[in-house]
Amino acid sequence: MKTLSLILGASLLFSTFASAETNLPDRQTELPAHAKAASTEYLVPRDLATIPNTEFGNKVKQGYSLFVNSQTMRGQYVGNEQNCANCHMQAGMKANSAPLWGAFMAYPAYRKKNDKVNTYAERIQGCFKYSMNGVAPAVDSPELVALTAYSYWLAMGGLLDKYDMQSTQIPEMSDAVVQLGGKADSFVLPETIAAALPIEQRNKLAGRGYPKLAKSAQTPSIERGEIVYKQTCSTCHGDSGQGLKQDGVQSFPPLWGKGSFNWGAGMHRVNTAAFFIYENMPLGKSIQLSNQQAWDVAAFMNSHERPQDPRFTGDLKANQEQYHNHQGYYGKTVNGKVVGENAFPAEAVD
C-alpha cells in the first residue's frame, strides 16, 4: 500500500507535464470485462436538478455540458465529430455503458504494463486523445476539472442513496481530490460506505464498463456484418458510416471515416464494440440484436479506415505489434488493403 501511495504521489507530480509527453502511453487499455450484474445493484445518480448553485456545483454542471455537447471544445481539444455522450449513454449515467460513476471509483489504477499509476483525470485525457481524436486538456484545466467533478458527483450521489443516506448532501471536494479518483487511499467516504466498499472492491462496481458478450458461434464476419449494418444501422449512421448531420450539428455520430474515433480508441476493438453495440444499439432498443449480429456488425464497422493511431510513428507493423495485441483489424489485410495504411490524420485540431 505504501509503495502505491508513493507511486501515486510521484505520478501526481508528473501529471502536470503529461501533455508534453511525446511517447503516448496506452491509456485505452481494455477494462476487465465482466458478466452483466442484476439491475438492482447499479448505482443511480441523483437528479441533475439537485446540483447545487455553488462554485463546486457550477463545475459539475459544466462537466455535464461538456460531456453531452463536447463540440464546444472542437478545434481546441476535440478533433472529430464525437461527443462523450455518444458512447457513454445517458450523459455517462447508464449502467453497462461505461458509466462515469463506475469509472470514477476505479481510479487511480496501477498498471503493471508501464509501472505507472493512472489517475482518473489521466484516464479522461486518454479519451480526448483517442476517442475524440484530439489533444487532451491539462489535468488542471477548467475542462478536466469540470469533467472529473461531474463524475465524482454522479458516483457520490449514487453511493449515498444506495447506502440509505438520501438526505446527506454530496460533500464538495477540491479539484485535486476529484482529479485523483475514488480509489485513492486519501479519498474520504462516509464510514458505512467505506466499510461496505473497501479500496480493492471499488473498481468492480456493478454496471462498470460494457458487459462481456459471449463469443459468437461463428467467427465474426465482415460480410455478414455489412448486411446487419444496412438493415439496422444505416438509417441512423449513414450509408457509409458518416452519421447524420443537419445544419452543422452532427446528431448521429459517424462510426468510421475522418469524423470518427481514431485507431487508438477502445471502440476500435471488435470485442469492445460488440459489447457496446449489443447492449446499447440500435438507440432506443426497439429491437435486440442477436449475439452473432453484434459481433458481425462490430467487425464490419471496425474494418473501415478511421483517423490514425496517434502513437503511430511511421511503422505500421511496429505500432501494431506494440499496441494492437487485441481483437481488431489494424495492420491486417482486408479486401486487399492493409488497414491503417490509409488512415485519416490523427489530432485534427487547428
Binding site: A85, A91, V249, G284, I287
Partner: protein
C-alpha cells in the same frame, strides 16, 4: 484568404438563390388539392392538417406511401393520396412541400445546453428518461426538434397533430417506422406527457 472570401460569397449567393427558388416555382398541379388543408405556404392548420413546409423530402415520400399502403390510417389522407397515381407525382409534391420555408427558430437549444430542467416534458426532450429506455427526443429529432435528415421536424408543428400521432402509435393505428423505433418510444409515454410534449414542440417558434 481572398480566395476563401470569393468562395464564401459564391456559396452565399447560391444559398440565396436556393432560398428564393420556391417563391418563383409555382405549385405543381398535383399539389393544388393539398393546399386546401395544408395551406398555400404548407404551414397546415391546427385541428385540420399538419405543417409540411420544410420537411425532409424522403420523409414526406415515405409517409405518403404509408397512407397508400395502410400503415397510416386517416380518412382525408387515405383518399387524398389516391390522387397521386404515379411515383413521379409523389416525388413532385414531396419535393414541393420540402422546398417551402419552415418558420425559422431563434435560440436553438442543443442537448447539454441546460443541465437543470424542471419541466418534465422539456426534460424528456433534452435528457430523456432512461428508466423507460427513452432517449432524449432531441437526439433523433435534432436541436429544438428541428429535424435531422429523414427524422422529422417537430418544432412549430401543430400540437393536436403531434399528440394524435403519438396516440396513433400507442393504438397501433400508425406503423411502418423502421424497426418500430418511434412506436416503441410512444408506447412508453403517458397521456399527460403526450399533451405536454405536443404543446412544448408546438410552442417552439
Amino acid at each position: 484568404m481572398p480566395m476563401k472570401n470569393i468562395f464564401r460569397s459564391i456559396i452565399g449567393l447560391s444559398a440565396l438563390l436556393l432560398v428564393q427558388a420556391p417563391a418563383f416555382s409555382a405549385t405543381p398541379p398535383a399539389a393544388m388539392v393539398c393546399e386546401s388543408c395544408h395551406g398555400t405556404a404548407g404551414l397546415g392548420t391546427p385541428n385540420l392538417a399538419p405543417m409540411l413546409a420544410g420537411m425532409d423530402k424522403d420523409y414526406l415520400v415515405e409517409q405518403i406511401n404509408h397512407f397508400k399502403n395502410g400503415n397510416r390510417k386517416n380518412p382525408s389522407m387515405t383518399s387524398m393520396v389516391m390522387t397521386l397515381a404515379t411515383p413521379e407525382s409523389v416525388q413532385q409534391v414531396a419535393a414541393f412541400f420540402a422546398s417551402l420555408p419552415a418558420p425559422t427558430i431563434s435560440n436553438i437549444e442543443k442537448r447539454g445546453d441546460n443541465v437543470i430542467i424542471t419541466d418534465p416534458a422539456r426534460k424528456l426532450v433534452y435528457q430523456g428518461d432512461w428508466t423507460r429506455n427513452i432517449p432524449a427526443c432531441a437526439t433523433c429529432h435534432g436541436p429544438s426538434g428541428l429535424g435531422v435528415a429523414h427524422f422529422p421536424r417537430l418544432a412549430s408543428q401543430h400540437a393536436d397533430y403531434i399528440s394524435n400521432q403519438l396516440t396513433a402509435w400507442q393504438n397501433k393505428k400508425r406503423t411502418g417506422d423502421k424497426n418500430n423505433v418511434m412506436a416503441t418510444i410512444a408506447q412508453q409515454l403517458t397521456a399527460s406527457e403526450i399533451q405536454h410534449l405536443a404543446q412544448y414542440f408546438a410552442a417552439i417558434k
